[in-house]
């Protein structure tokens, strides 16, 4: 039977089974590699969420803001309200979505450079405001976030358990974004991304979709941010700097922005391995990361996906071009 003949429900089922097996297998990796895989899943999800905003034509430099709000919400809920982990995750993601709605209605009226710079400022203001609040631990942040209870066979006292969680979130985000892109909404987004005014003249009320994309992106970023905060056990304002916003772009652009799932997966793999093995000398990380960005932009402007395409083009016709 041909793969192509399986209907879409079957495909989803197959993907879930494969992914489950993959996650299960990853669970037996050495600790350090599990750590890398966790970071990989985190940044892949953030990169994909960033791409959703890019699809409606805007270049956000503010993902750190939502990671920050997500992380702090989860920390506050669990530390101050003894809220169960699962509820904290969902409420945190919803909080991010709500903030995105309120802020988005204003800042998405801006386009291009204006949006770009204001999103950057937004993230920084979130960070500075949180750092100013004594309730949120001021510049120290909040720490001692309790380890969540076990869920069935998933133990959150081990890296393995977290790995399963982050892969689950990644899969959730990936499937959602993939579905969105293949559906009518994806087409509408691409029209708006190409030219909001043209889309408007076709009767698409673009503000609605721009805000929608921003809110969805914030929801998933917040979800990952919340889980990441609890995983690390602490949140602090120094963690959520501009650098985090940059990683979102880095992974998406390293991988290639043409593909909403595959690009970030590839880019994030490169980034996390690179980051993990980077010698830790203060300053060297920024320097190397900056150098890497400059290299990519000047020598590999379409990202890793373009390498894959160049590679595949060497094969004769009939070789399957589409993997995902």
């Amino acid at each position: 039977m041909h793969i192509a003949r399986i209907n879409s429900a079957g495909k989803v089922l197959l993907a879930i089974v494969l992914l489950g097996l993959l996650a299960f297998a990853l669970g037996f990796l050495p600790n350090r590699w599990q750590q890398i895989c966790i970071m990989w899943a985190i940044w892949s999800t953030v990169g994909m969420s960033w791409l959703v905003i890019l699809r409606v034509g805007e270049f956000s430099v503010g993902q750190a803001g939502f990671l920050c709000i997500g992380g702090y919400s989860a920390a506050v809920l669990m530390l101050k309200f003894n809220c169960p982990f699962w509820l904290a995750l969902i409420v945190s993601a919803a909080t991010c979505a709500f903030v995105a709605l309120v802020v988005g209605v204003i800042i998405l009226r801006l386009k291009g450079l204006y949006f770009l710079v204001i999103s950057l400022v937004f993230a920084e203001i979130v960070r500075l405001t949180i750092a100013a609040s004594d309730y949120l631990g001021a510049s120290e942040g909040l720490f001692g976030i309790p380890i969540p209870n076990n869920l069935w066979f998933i133990k959150f006292s081990t890296k393995q358990g977290w790995l399963y969680l982050f892969i689950f979130i990644l899969a959730l985000a990936g499937f959602t974004f993939r579905r969105m892109e293949k559906s009518r909404i994806g087409r509408i987004y691409s029209y708006i991304g190409a030219s909001p005014d043209l889309a408007q003249s076709f009767g698409i009320y673009y503000m609605k979709y721009r805000v929608q994309a921003f809110v969805i992106s914030a929801f998933f970023t917040g979800l990952v941010g919340a889980a990441m905060g609890v995983y690390l056990g602490a949140v602090g304002p120094e963690g959520y700097t501009f650098y985090y916003s940059l990683i979102a772009q880095i992974v998406a652009i390293l991988g290639g922005v043409g593909s909403i799932v595959l690009g970030p997966l590839l880019g994030s793999a490169l980034y996390t391995v690179f980051d993990e093995y980077l010698v830790y000398v203060p300053g060297a990380r920024s320097l190397i990361m900056g150098g890497l960005l400059l290299t990519v932009i000047f020598f590999l402007p379409e990202g890793l996906v373009s390498v894959r395409r160049k590679f595949l083009n060497k094969f004769p016709r009939g070789f399957p071009r589409k993997f995902i």
Binding site: F59, V61, V103, I106, I107, R109, L110, K111, G112, L113, Y114, L116, V117, I118, L120, V121, F122, E124, I125, L128, T129, A131, A132, T241, F242, Y243, L246, Q249, I253, V281, P282, G283, A284, R285, S286, L287, I288, M289, G290, G291, L292, L293, L294, V296, I297, F298, P301
Partner: protein, 287 residues
């Protein structure tokens, strides 16, 4: 109270420098230089080296750091940015890369610790019976002189006029015989030099660390979006408004004053998405 007033004026004048520097590069290059704040930081470190390690007098150290980092800015425009053909996304990545490189270099060379910068003048004087620090006054005076100089340069000199022409319509300017590539480099150099002067002044009042660049960037972005990108008069007005929040706001409502600045900008953008005096940057001319 009078003290805060002087602080407001001093800070705002330097914000004008910082923000006009950015707005100049935005209007000619049509992309926001995200490394602007880090040029500001780099300039302050260069000044530290010239004045403390090399022991040069204040004025000479200032001049050398302005020239050095200004030249670096021109180089970045000519060798990196220009090759990207004015497309926004790659330019932003390129500038982010530059931002990280500068920050990393600063940490490697000077360490992550906070430092103080020497002041131009020391001591105090009295104005109308109130004691005022000479440092603040000199800082305000220098900023004022530089702003006035820049304004006259842009308004009355041949080169200044060609910068304005290039900002308004790059292609038409080239048809007048203006070497627009040179003008781009020059604007980036001047913009960076403005940031350096502001950096040396502001970090002397607050403090210097490799991480001050990002907050300087945010301040200048808030100012130019509020004033309208590309508008120097707009930047002037907005700098004083943001300065208000960072001086009076900071002393009356404490550390939440950032939220105040952001809120003010949000409210203005709600009513006028192009800022107080701005037209859309992208809409002006082609190429």
């Amino acid at each position: 109270m009078f003290d805060i007033f002087i602080f407001w004026i001093t800070l705002s004048l330097n914000y004008v420098l910082l923000a006009t520097g950015l707005t100049l590069t935005v209007s000619v290059m049509r992309v926001v230089n995200l490394a602007h704040g880090n040029f500001y930081m780099a300039g302050a470190y260069a000044f530290l080296v010239f004045s403390e390690r090399a022991g040069l007098p204040y004025g000479l150290a200032l001049l050398l750091s302005v020239l050095l980092v200004g030249a670096l800015g021109m180089l970045v425009e000519a060798k990196l940015y220009r090759r990207l053909g004015g497309r926004i996304e790659p330019s932003i990545i390129c500038m982010s890369g530059m931002l990280l490189v500068l920050e990393g270099l600063a940490v490697l060379l000077f360490g992550p610790d906070i430092r103080g910068l020497p002041a131009m003048l020391k001591g105090t004087t009295t104005i109308g019976g109130t004691v005022v620090s000479m440092e603040r006054l000199s800082v305000a005076a220098l900023a004022l002189v530089v702003i006035a100089g820049l304004f006259c340069f842009l308004k009355y000199s041949r080169l200044g006029r060609s910068i304005r022409a290039t900002a308004q319509d790059r292609e038409a300017a080239s048809l007048m015989g203006v070497n627009v590539n040179l003008i781009s480099s020059l604007s980036m150099g001047i913009g960076t030099a403005m940031a350096v002067i502001a950096g040396i002044q502001i970090t002397a009042v607050y403090h210097l660390s490799p991480y001050v660049g990002i907050s300087a960037l945010c301040t200048s972005i808030l100012i130019i979006t509020m004033g309208g990108m590309g508008s120097i008069v707009g930047a002037f007005i907005a700098a004083f408004i943001i300065g208000l929040s960072d001086s009076f706001g900071a002393s009356f409502i404490g550390r939440y004053h950032h939220l105040l600045s952001f809120g003010t900008v949000m409210i203005i953008l709600l009513f006028k998405p192009t800022g107080l005096l701005g037209t859309t940057v992208e809409a002006k001319g082609k190429g």
